[in-house]
């Protein structure tokens, strides 16, 4: 604390010092006078003996100072004063920085929240997703989610593992909740025992679903999410213990999960126990996501090995029924590939975000280059001032520091404003971002983001400040005094720094524009793909589910759906209507199974490739605009007559029988006990998993078929997407009429996922359009900044060379020569920049390979177009100042000085 005392007693110390010196001089004078000198002589002698009093006193005071801090404060005050004196420059600089830093902060806050922060679970680093691949299970193999677990697999893993603290399976779904207000379709998640223990998040009220809740035919219980609790029960604790009618069955609410709790990447309203009936399980049924918590000090490779060890145990412990070969799954080559849960949650969005982050960072660099250019001009104008300061004894390190303090100040001011912009920017980004952007709710400006902003501000201040500072504050600064006041045409070297900056800007702009160009090409390629439906804007979708507790008999379910279709078709403006188990790209979990063709031979126990299968109503293809390539569509009489018919996709027809027409009349089946179904139609391929994904092979069954599993005569598809073609799709009035039409058939049917097919389509290309938008914005900013950069440099060099140009003109140079001279200066920079940028783009665009579709990352067309565009724009930016150069009046220019 001594230093603190020193600071506060400093005034006193200085006063003492002054006093003391005064006393010293007086004593001396008195002594000399006493020795016989006159008072004047004595005073002069005393001063002589003492030396320079000011120096002595100053040196003595300096002992008490902190030169670094105090010089810095002085620099700071000086910097603020200088910035205040140039409001135009300061405003432009701060705004540029604020936009650049704001954009970077916004993107970083998303990268930070989505990619960097750990998941919101205790010890989240131990959490894994039990991902497994199965190269031998065709159809399932190219599934991004790999081979899900079957319930029997879950029991084997849960009971026999050595590497997990806990594990469990879960599956998202929907259910109808009735009896509260109007019927509502809610998002559910079914969980096995072990899931909640794995995630480790305590309920905010009530208790977890316990092992006892998992017994089949036991107590029927549920947990609800915080949001649902607030929405439906107003956050009332008495909700615990109440019954909720889930799919027309009463279930007791036992607990509420806390706010912000998400199920891996899924939001839910109601959590229901899966309650597997262990005695009835078979090997198959690969429909469940699995999560687990690793034991401490167990790594993923060890856990993988543990799963691999248990696979044979699983095959030996269960069966697919008498006569089936349990080791058939060896041909699937099931391989555990456990992933950190975080990776599972983030999915494929990380690439997009890193590309966007990189892009926006490059824009920042270009902006910094522009600012450095501005500062160079400014410092050049201030050379005299700097020279005077140097002459007055300021060391050049001190001058550099002064200039740096100024640019750091700019950086920090820009950063402060940038945080404000980022706050707004994050909202825009989140709204624009891919609809399935994971961890959306977690995005916020936290301390790490603010830290990033501060660092970025300082770094950018340093980057654009250091260049002019080092260039002009160097030891040669004194030279400036001599040439001050004379604006000669300076040597090339004088422009060197600025030229380099501009070349760099052009190069970086080119890289960004190539990126944006590639995304545009990708987007165009995507638009060219026939998705398997037409005019998505006029396709209204809605999803409805008829649970067994509401309508038990399958035939009545189909009749009800048929009736709904009739009512829908009666709405004015509706061309046609149909339904299907799920529309392409809707992202509901699809059904896969092995499909056998009658005329193919299968060796004993061989399982043919898995195919996607769907159930459709008559009129569906016509409504969706899916072409029938060969054969015909289903009829209602075939549905009600339970006729064994099927339709297949064109690629499946070609694979099995060579051509669409050859497939008509052939027969296939799902499994041996099911009757052979005759192929009556071959349907256009549909981009089921998104436009960028290959169209899968699909089998379309009638919506109602002979019941193959349980008792009863027939099985109907209970959850379907209704598809309505109408010009009025999506309008409020139309939706009201649609709802009335459905409810006139059955008033307790909740409608979910009401949207147009266009929305579904847009969502499926959201990743591409988001990347395109971001790269487009970044590219446009880069282009504008680069143009301003070139314009600024050429324009400044013209104004500096006025005298030289005047002399040239006076000596007979033509306007054309001058124009050419100036333009070639710009062209040289632009071409060099383009050349360097090409190399950069060549190296960098491969990073975005996975974001591209139908275009190579080295697409020559894009490269050539962008290079040409940039060259033209650069020349255009040079043209204005070049024109001005030709108008220099030699007399004025020469007299000017």
């Amino acid at each position: 604390m001594r230093w603190l005392k020193q600071i506060f007693s400093r005034r006193r110390t200085y006063a003492d010092l002054s006093d003391e010196i005064q006393q010293h001089l007086e004593e001396k004078v008195e002594e000399l006078v006493a020795a016989g000198m006159s008072r004047e002589q004595a005073a002069a002698a005393a001063r002589r003996e003492f030396g320079n009093r000011t120096f002595a006193e100053e040196d003595a005071r300096a002992v008490w100072r902190w030169p670094r801090v105090e010089d810095f404060m002085q620099d700071l005050r000086y910097g603020l004063r200088m910035l205040g004196k140039a409001p135009g420059f300061t405003t432009v600089a701060i705004l540029t920085l604020a936009i650049g830093i704001g954009a970077n902060t916004a993107v970083f806050s998303i990268v930070n929240s989505v990619l960097l922060k750990p998941l919101h679970y205790p010890q989240a680093e131990q959490l894994v997703s039990l991902h497994q691949i199965a190269p031998g299970a065709a159809g399932l193999a190219d599934f991004e989610s790999g081979l899900h677990l079957s319930p029997s697999m879950y029991f084997t893993y849960a009971e026999q593992n050595r590497t997990f603290q806990s594990l469990g399976v879960w599956v998202p779904g929907t259910a109808n909740v009735t009896g509260l207000a109007e019927p509502e379709q809610v998002r559910t998640v079914g969980v096995s025992d072990g899931v909640l223990q794995t995630l480790g998040v305590s309920p905010v009220a009530g208790r977890w679903l316990a092992k006892a809740d998992q017994t089949p035919r036991g107590a029927e219980t549920v947990m609800v999410s915080y949001g649902y609790w607030q929405r439906r029960f107003g956050g009332d604790r008495s909700a615990i213990g109440r019954n909720l009618m889930v799919d027309s069955r009463p279930r007791e609410i036992v607990g509420v999960m806390p706010q912000g709790f998400r199920f891996v990447d899924t939001d839910f309203d109601v959590m229901v126990p899966l309650a597997f009936d262990r005695g009835k399980l078979i090997l198959a049924g690969f429909g469940f996501n699995a999560i687990a918590r690793l034991k401490p000090n167990v790594n993923i490779a060890e856990a993988d090995a543990d799963l691999a060890r248990m696979l044979p145990i699983w095959m030996d412990s269960w069966s697919n029924g008498p006569g089936s070969n349990p080791h058939i799954y060896e041909t699937w080559r099931i391989t555990p590939a456990i992933r950190p849960l975080k990776q599972e949650v983030i999915g494929n969005v990380s690439e997009v975000l890193w590309v966007v982050m990189g892009t926006i960072g490059v824009v920042m660099l270009i902006a910094c280059a522009n600012l450095a250019n501005l500062l160079l001009v400014r410092v050049e104008a201030r050379q005299q001032e700097l020279a005077v300061r140097a002459a007055l004894g300021a060391g050049w390190a001190r001058i550099v520091r002064g200039l740096l303090v100024e640019s750091l100040l700019l950086g920090l001011l820009g950063g402060a404003m940038g945080i404000g912009l980022a706050y707004a920017g994050v909202r825009v980004l989140v709204a624009m971002g891919p609809a399935n952007l994971p961890r959306l709710a977690e995005i916020s400006l936290d301390t790490r983001t603010i830290g990033f902003t501060v660092l970025l501000s300082l770094f950018s201040g340093l980057v654009f400040g250091l260049i002019p500072a080092l260039k002009y504050a160097g030891p040669q600064v004194a030279l400036a005094l001599r040439s001050a006041g004379r604006t000669t045409s300076a040597s090339r070297e004088r422009y060197h720094a600025r030229n380099v900056l501009v070349v760099g800007q052009v190069a970086m702009a080119l890289v960004l524009l190539v990126g944006a160009g590639l995304m545009i090409r990708t987007f165009r390629e995507l638009r060219k793909v026939e998705p398997g439906f037409t005019d998505a804007n006029h396709l209204q979708l809605l999803r409805a589910s008829i649970p067994g507790s509401l309508v038990a008999e399958p035939v009545r379910v189909t009749r009800l759906q048929n009736e709904i279709l009739d009512r829908l078709q009666a709405i004015p403006g509706v061309k046609s209507a149909g339904f299907v188990s799920e529309m392409p790209m809707e992202g509901f979990d699809s059904d896969w199974d092995a499909i056998y063709a009658e005329d193919k031979n299968y060796s004993d126990g061989e399982i043919p490739p898995l195919r996607l299968f769907k159930h459709v109503s008559p009129g569906f293809y016509e409504t969706a605009g899916t072409r029938i390539v060969a054969g015909r569509e289903l009829t209602w009489s075939e549905v009600y007559g339970l006729r064994p018919v099927a339709m297949i996709s064109e690629n499946l027809a070609r694979e099995l029988w060579g051509s669409p027409s050859a497939a008509i009349g052939k027969r296939l089946t799902e499994f041996p006990k099911m009757p052979w179904h005759e192929v009556i139609g071959v349907i256009q391929d549909v981009r089921e998993n998104g436009v960028q994904e290959k169209a899968p092979e699909i089998v379309y069954w009638p919506t109602m078929m002979d019941n193959l599993f349980g008792p009863g005569p027939a099985g109907a598809t209970r959850t379907v997407s209704f598809v309505i073609r109408s010009e009025r799709a999506g309008t409020q009035g139309f939706l009201d009429e649609v709802r009335r039409a459905v409810w006139s058939v059955n008033a307790s049917l909740p409608l979910a996922s009401v949207r147009t097919m266009q929305t579904v389509y847009d969502k499926s290309v959201a990743r591409t359009s988001f990347t395109l938008a971001m790269l487009g914005i970044a590219g446009a900013m880069a282009l504008a900044l680069g143009m301003i950069g070139i314009y600024g440099v050429i324009s400044y060099s013209v104004s500096q060379r006025q005298r030289e140009i005047g002399v040239r003109l006076a000596l007979g140079a033509q306007a054309g020569d001058v124009l050419q001279m100036v333009l070639s200066h710009g062209a040289k920079m632009a071409l060099l920049g383009v050349a360097i940028g090409m190399c950069g783009a060549f190296a960098l665009t491969r990073l975005m390979t996975n974001l591209l579709f139908g275009v190579s990352p080295l697409d020559p067309f894009t490269f050539a177009t962008v290079a040409a565009l940039l060259a033209v724009v650069a020349l255009a930016a040079c043209y204005l100042p070049a024109r001005r150069a030709t108008r220099v009046d030699p007399m004025v220019a020469l007299r000017y000085e």
Binding site: L17, E20, I21, H24, E57, D59, A60, V63
Partner: protein, 119 residues
Amino acid sequence: MHETQTMKNDKQRDLFPGALEMMILRTLKRQPLHGYALVQHIKRTSNDLLQIEEGSLYPALQRLLKEELVKAEWGISSTNRRVRIYKLTAAGTKHLEQEVSRFEKMLEGITRVLAPGES
């Protein structure tokens, strides 16, 4: 710029850094003194061989104060003048011993090198 520098150089021509401080400490070891008396004593004792600007005493004194090798108090001098009297602290005594022994070693070294007849 050049003038100021040469002046500064002249001022310290005869002294190496720390020499003045060492002499101050040595003088104060004999008795506490105020600034004027201190410089007169040093000048007198050195037979005016050392050209010391009286003013240069004060930065040196401030340095010693800051490092707490001396302490100062206002008092009344024998000539009935209000003066600031400096006194050696314990740390100052110790510091002086170290400095003197270092100086003596240095002096011995220099003397040996300068001594005639040896090579």
